[in-house]
Symmetry: C2
Subunit: 217 residues, 2 copies
DNA sequence: AACAAAAATTAGGCAAGCCAAATTTTTCTG
DNA sequence: CAGAAAAATTTGGCTTGCCTAATTTTTGTT
């Protein structure tokens, strides 16, 4: 029942719900790059199997069973990303696609070995929390860099793993997970944010700032 | 074109050819645990795609293209087995099933990283040679333990990875790849072979001895 | 050589996943 | 609120990969 396709749909629905969006047919279709017809068909199947509740012409919500599968898959994805970075030395911007495939292929046994090998980690290379085996997950209590008040001291908490180019950009300016910095000020009218990291000064565009989660400290 | 199913069929045909058996519909079906009808259908597809030549009512042979795919898949399988043993500490008897799945899922990039991480190894945990990237493979020049003359000094070269129980048995008597030993003698009428390893003496049944490849030295 | 058994193939069907095109429902807009 | 646009669904069709049952070909036996 938990095929590759099913897990991908469930993960997408979970991501939409987590970001406060309605899991509508069109949004699922867009994220998975399939047609709406395919989504409607799959939704019926997932509803019959008890993973989602479906309100026709509105969208779906995960059942507890669906939520559990989503977190199980997310745990696999994030552990695999971390393993690829830590063990094989891949960069944080190039592990997403591999993890997307391997999360459906690796056995529970191998996954638990990876978990132990990595020292029971809590976060993946992008700062995202790794769900526990029981399906519990730590919520990230951060704010968007774009919402940070001027003068605040903070550190980088999380960036999405989905956009490799953005990750390469952040790596190129050495603005990675855990980096401590001070927000000097922001230029008016959508101008860049001026950031100080130790002795180094940095400008970050407002669009980038919206995609970076930070932890005020 | 190189789907999971295709790669599994090609691997099976390669294994049959390598062991000098005709790759007939029935033998392929038996090894893959599918019906002969399924094999006939798949064979037509593989023949049309240029991986095999098909002689109806007789069997198939690999084309150079098919052989290349077989060796490519075998390389992946064996590297993954070794990686699981070396890096994650799995036992040699429990890696086959995982490798069987992962060989179809791991990207070339990750595989090459594993190859480098392992120090460009030449053999898998069961002594089988790992095909090179260009598809070349070292032939094992060994003899079956059952064919070894009495009194010969030798070492364990290779055992098949397919039978976990047999591998556990060999591990339990500490008769693993590379173990040096002397064949004392063999009991008549299909009796056991008496083996000496250092100071230790061991009896090995004739059926087991047929499945162990050794390297006289 | 003739017949039975074994091996192989063909024919027809099913499930998963996808698609395009047609239709229905909802939402938006003037 | 009426009509248009957008969203969702239905219908029918395609491919992969498997199955059972029926048929054909080969092989083995007397």
């Amino acid at each position: 029942m938990a095929t590759t396709a099913n897990e991908d749909y469930i993960k997408t629905i979970y991501a939409l719900e987590s970001s406060g969006q309605r899991a509508s047919t069109s949004r699922i279709a867009q994220r998975l790059d399939v047609t709406m017809a395919s989504v409607t068909g799959k939704i019926k199947h997932l509803a019959a199997a008890g993973y989602v509740r479906h309100t026709p012409y509105y969208g779906v919500t995960l059942t507890p069973k669906g939520r559990k599968l989503a977190l199980h898959t997310l745990r696999r994805h994030r552990l695999i990303e971390l393993f690829l970075v830590k063990t094989l030395g891949l960069r944080w911007d190039e592990v997403h696609a591999d993890a997307e495939v391997l999360e459906h292929a690796i056995s529970d046994k191998v996954l638990e070995r990876m978990y132990e090998y990595l020292g029971r980690p809590e976060f993946d290379p992008h700062g995202a929390p790794i769900p526990a085996e029981d399906g519990s997950i730590k919520e990230l209590t951060g704010v968007r860099l774009s919402d940070l008040p001027s003068g605040a001291r903070s550190r980088v908490l999380h960036v999405s793993d989905a956009d490799g180019e953005f990750l390469r950009y952040l790596a190129s300016i050495d603005f990675t997970i855990g980096t401590a910095f001070t927000l000097r000020d922001r230029a008016p009218y959508g101008g860049p944010l001026r950031i100080r990291i130790g002795r180094r000064e940095l400008d970050i565009g407002p669009d980038a700032a919206e995609r970076i989660l930070v932890c005020p400290s």
